[in-house]
């Protein structure tokens, strides 16, 4: 099932296009890496795929079957841990619990099921022991982990990660890719991950989408490489 697709999409900021003529498809249950050099509009591509930005031209289609209450059930882990509000007066557990809020709405009680989900999410990222610590006391890698736990706590259909392994050592990165592979295989999660180093994640990814610069300096999705036999290339 195709989850989201772009067809000949052009998008830019101010009057200059940064993405020109991109066409690609994301399949449900796929673990996709998006790569490209700095400034290659990778985050912009993510936002277009999620329908958060409207393209100048071309079309973005999101499969209605994956919408919950007319929105895509997405867990999002932002790019910059530095933007993480370190002075925010919150404990790790409080923050990860907030991942359940979109599902609970305004009034539904935070019950036993949600407690289990939060505990599992924290254990999956190896941060359960740190649950009572203030988030400002955590290291960069730990902050990244609790952002991931928070996204998982929302039990998303799609997990979108923008350079999620920043601040993690090599062993942690491998463990993290294994976890994402497990989430796609066993839980049917779709994972879209922007990464600078697709080589080390290659074993776990289904497909790598590379953004490359054209002569006109705009970025285009020129190559997609299939890493596993599960899904064919989109172009």
């Amino acid at each position: 099932m195709i989850l989201s697709s772009l067809e000949n999409v052009v998008f830019g900021y101010s009057d200059k296009p940064v993405i020109d003529g991109v066409s690609l498809e994301i399949h449900a249950g796929e673990f996709v890496g998006i790569t490209g050099p700095n400034g290659a509009a990778k985050t912009t591509l993510l936002k277009l795929l999620l329908g958060l930005l409207k393209p100048w031209s071309g079309s973005v289609r999101i499969n209605e079957e994956v919408l919950v209450d007319s929105r895509l059930n997405v867990g999002y882990v932002p790019q910059q841990v530095a933007a993480f509000n370190s002075g925010f007066p919150s404990r790790v557990l409080e923050l990860v619990k907030s991942g359940c809020y979109p599902r609970l709405g305004l009034f539904r009680r935070f019950g036993a099921e949600e407690r289990q989900i939060v505990e599992r999410s924290l254990k999956q990222v190896g941060m359960w022991e740190h649950r009572d610590r203030k988030i400002g006391e955590l290291s960069g890698g730990q902050k990244q982990r609790i952002c991931i736990a928070r996204a998982l706590a929302g039990q998303p259909r799609v997990l979108v990660l923008d350079e999620p392994t920043t601040g993690m050592d090599q062993q942690s990165r491998q463990g993290f890719y294994q976890l994402l592979r497990h989430m796609t295989d066993q839980h049917g999660l779709t994972v879209i991950m922007v990464t600078h180093g697709p080589e080390e994640a290659e074993t776990y990814l289904d497909r790598i989408i590379s953004l490359e610069q054209q002569e006109s300096e705009e970025w285009q999705c020129l190559t997609t490489r299939s890493c596993s036999v599960r899904f064919g290339p989109a172009l």
Partner: protein, 298 residues
């Protein structure tokens, strides 16, 4: 002291605004908009001056101006996403300039403006008290019902938007409510000190609290304590209530900072490791969808 009706009204007014203003302060400070209350009070003053010039009810004009100021700041914030303090500075200088010019048009009004500038909680009227009660009630409902989306919005606006929270609507409603609270608080401490009720308890709470709910509780508790003790001190020592309340809140903040420094110094002296980031050594674990464990969370 509480035998006097004016002091009873003062304590009621203090309790109402002291329950709401510190909560607004926590959110404003975390959104890097600490000066918003100060700005809206100046805009409110411009509204009061405009009301006086045009023959409208100055209090109502000030109330409406504060709400419009909040909306304007929020709108400008969307144009200056990377510099959230810029809209506050623009609206503050504009509000003050407008107030000064409008006040000069009616020089005989400058005497009555001193009441707005410095406030007088002991002169709070029944109408002002009812207005304050209305704002406090609305605020309590607002923060209780929207506590979850407000938390997510304050932590990270982008993630909140992606998770489906109506960020624009929530931000504008918060700006409107802040304008209402500021306008209602002006009779207590005046334009010049209104942000003390909003910023000082929140500053203390953000230093001391380990969790978000604790921050809200510390802010409200210190705000109410400051207001009640300030009112009592001003009654017995014959001092202006607004300034006394603000100074007591400042003392609380200084005491909180000093207490933290002493605690850190004691910890170092005792050879204990001060709070600092630890190495992340937990491993990522792939778990089954349902493990059926008996789990407990505090």
């Amino acid at each position: 002291m509480l035998d006097y009706a004016f002091m009873q009204r003062a304590f009621w007014a203090g309790a109402l605004i002291g329950s709401i203003a510190p909560i607004i302060g926590v959110f404003l400070m975390l959104r890097r908009q600490a000066l918003m209350a100060d700005t809206l009070s100046h805009v409110s003053l411009a509204g009061v001056a405009l009301g006086a010039v045009l023959g409208w009810n100055p209090a109502v004009a000030g109330f409406v101006a504060a709400i419009l100021g909040g909306l304007l700041i929020e709108q400008l914030r969307r144009s200056y996403r990377a510099y959230s303090e810029v809209p506050v500075a623009i609206v503050m200088t504009s509000g003050l300039a407008l107030a000064v010019v409008l006040m000069s048009l009616r020089s005989n009004l400058s005497q009555s403006f001193s009441a707005y500038l410095f406030g007088s909680i002991v002169a709070v009227s029944d109408t002002q008290l009812v207005l304050m009660a209305g704002v406090a009630l609305l605020g309590a409902m607002y923060f209780i019902v929207l506590r979850r989306p407000l938390y997510s919005l304050t932590f990270d606006e982008e993630t909140a938007r992606i998770s489906g929270i109506p960020v624009t609507w929530l931000s504008f409603s918060f700006a409107v409510f802040t304008g209402m609270a500021v306008a209602a608080a002006i009779p207590i401490v005046g334009v010049l000190l209104v942000s003390s009720l909003i910023v000082l308890p929140a500053s203390l709470a953000l230093r001391l609290a380990r969790g978000f709910a604790a921050a809200i509780m510390i802010a409200v508790a210190s705000g109410l304590t400051g207001i009640f003790s300030g009112l009592t001190a001003s009654y017995y020592l014959d001092m202006p209530p607004g300034g006394t309340i603000a100074l007591i809140l400042l003392l609380f903040l200084l005491a909180g900072i000093a207490g933290q420094k002493v605690r850190g110094w004691m910890a170092r002296k005792n050879g204990r490791r001060a709070t600092r980031p630890e190495r992340d050594n937990g491993e990522f674990i792939s778990m089954p969808a349902k493990d059926g464990e008996s789990l407990s969370l505090e």
